[in-house]
């Protein structure tokens, strides 16, 4: 059956949002950008019923020693999930604090043994017009694809989430498996992943293809580099009245800034 909302066993809890109170469940699950389920913020929660998150398999392909297809429940057994409270900063200048449940992407990458040629990892969302009715309109080039550099994928903060608030991930948040990269804008977090591909060359990614001047490949949270249509210097934390200052790398600079040493972040936005 559909386990959405069922309680998840959590191995341990890690707060990486500085002790901030998490954004309420209703906001986290009712205010979403998941264009495959509709382009308004309320559409995904309304339309999530069409997404069948079980049974679900993820195909591993490309520059990897062991290409295979994995069942999502088997994945969860392989990598016991933990709770990680992260800040989430949307490119639209709003943000949340979300208690994700998941496992480090790096653990999976290590298990899959990418070849030495693997420089990038791409994540592809399910392509199915019936389950994801938003794909009936060519709002974006479907299927949705996001990607990380392999060293980014191996960073301990990068998470594959299977739940939030101690419960199985709801459809509108990207059930059953989604990427969470807390130092990047939210759109990097591909949802409802069916394919993970290891690549020698940088792949095309959806938003970068759709509007390259607005959405870079890196998409690191950066208050210094404005979106062409709005400032990224401040953000509205959902539930708060005043905007607060946006922090470089969404406040995770100490952990991730070394990944980008020597890179011009204004050009590589």
């Amino acid at each position: 059956g559909d386990p959405t909302g069922a309680a998840l066993q959590v191995a341990r809890k890690v707060d990486q949002a500085g002790g901030e109170t998490p954004t309420p469940w209703d906001s986290v699950t009712g205010y979403n950008n998941f264009y495959e389920l509709g382009t308004s913020k309320e559409d995904p929660s309304r339309n999530a019923g069409s997404l069948r998150a079980r049974p679900w398999t993820v195909t591993i392909a490309g520059e990897v020693k062991r290409p295979q297809t994995l069942d999502v429940d088997a994945l969860v057994r392989m990598f016991p999930p933990e709770e990680r409270v992260y800040r989430m900063r949307c490119v639209e200048a709003w943000s949340m604090v979300i208690p994700w449940v998941g496992f480090p992407l790096a653990d999976l990458v290590r298990r899959l043994e990418p070849t030495s040629r693997a420089k990038y990892v791409a994540f592809q969302t399910l392509l199915d017009r019936d389950q994801l009715p938003g794909q009936r309109r060519p709002v974006l080039p479907w299927p949705y694809v996001e990607a990380l550099r392999i060293d980014e994928a191996n960073h301990p903060l990068a998470l594959l989430a299977v739940g939030l608030y101690g419960r199985v991930l709801p459809g509108q948040n990207g059930a059953p498996l989604r990427l969470v990269v807390p130092w990047k804008y939210g759109f990097k977090g591909a949802k409802s992943i069916v394919r993970i591909t290891f690549l020698a060359d940088r792949p095309h990614t959806t938003w970068n293809d759709a509007a390259p001047d607005e959405y870079g490949f890196y998409a690191n949270v950066n208050p210094e580099v404005d979106h062409p249509r709005w400032s990224q210097a401040r953000e509205r934390r959902i539930g708060e009245f005043f905007r607060r200052k946006t922090l470089p790398f969404n406040g995770y600079a100490a952990e991730v800034a070394p990944l980008y040493a020597g890179l011009d972040l204004r050009k590589n936005y």
Binding site: T23, D26, S27, G30, Y31, Y35, T39, K41, E42, E92, W94, R137, V139, L140, A210, A211, D226, P228, R229, W230, S231, A233, R234, R236, I238, G239, F241, F242, R243
Partner: protein, 262 residues
């Protein structure tokens, strides 16, 4: 219908329009108190005010084609109110952005207007609405003279175009709703063009003396009591003209004395 009956009907029409134009605000207030604005209420209010600005702007452009093509006279009588409500919603939208969304962050606001074309376009659209709202009174029509007043108020087409562009540039990828507005506005402008062509054709087919239209007789400001029935049309086809004068006979001595402008 009696004079009093017409007066009451016009009052009723205006009252209903006024109430209808307030409904979106009432709904906003209701949703604000019942949690119906969602997780990001500040954004929701901003978007709704913008949506209703464009909707009212579109509606305010409808009476002329409604008259020319459908022979409906009553929409013209609420057009000024629709226009003023457009300005009111646009002003609320702007104030909400400046005062609530950005909380008077002058650094951001200056950059918005100077560097971001999507914001600049929206701001210019609002600026262009100001003279239209200011000159919306009968006194201003007289002061400017009808012809000049009308020319000034053609700015509304520019406002409509800028408003739609503002919306198109605002959305990230799904521009369906702004294109719906663009299509409706294009249809309304097309209807005006069609009515004009039809009038030209009918005039060419059956030339009539220029003395009968009531337009330019008194310094651009028509005074004849019957003119308002033809208000939207320079040279209407015989059918509408006949109907206009027939209906006009009953309302000739209208109560308000307010000219309804084309």
């Amino acid at each position: 219908m009696t004079r009093a009956g017409i007066h009451i009907r016009l009052r009723l029409l205006k009252a209903l329009t006024f109430a209808a134009c307030c409904l979106p605000l009432a709904k906003l207030a209701w949703d604000a108190f019942t949690g119906g604005l969602g997780a990001n209420p500040i954004e929701a209010v901003l978007n709704r005010l913008g949506f209703w600005t464009l909707t009212l702007l579109t509606l305010s452009l409808a009476p002329t084609p409604a008259h020319d093509l459908l022979g409906l006279a009553w929409p013209v009588r609420v057009r000024r109110m629709l226009g003023l409500f457009t300005f009111a919603y646009a002003t609320l939208h702007l104030c909400w952005y400046v005062g609530v969304d950005q909380f008077f962050d002058l650094h951001v606001l200056a950059k918005d207007v100077l560097k971001r074309k999507f914001m600049a376009v929206g701001f210019v659209a609002w600026l262009l609405l100001v003279p239209l709202a200011v000159t919306s009174t009968d006194r201003w029509v007289r002061r400017l003279g009808y012809a000049r007043w009308k020319r000034l108020h053609r700015l509304v087409y520019a406002v409509a175009a800028l408003g739609v562009v503002h919306f198109v540039w605002r959305v990230k990828a799904d521009a369906l709703r702004p294109y719906v507005f663009a299509t409706i506005l294009a249809a309304l402008l097309g209807a005006r063009a069609a009515a004009r062509v039809r009038a030209e054709v009918s005039r060419a087919g059956a030339p009539r003396p220029r003395s009968s239209p009531d337009r330019t007789a008194s310094g651009g400001m028509p005074r004849r009591p019957g003119w308002r029935r033809r208000g939207c049309r320079r040279r209407g086809p015989p059918r509408a003209r006949a109907r206009g004068s027939r209906r006009g006979a009953g309302r000739r001595a209208g109560p308000s004395g307010t000219p309804i402008r084309p």
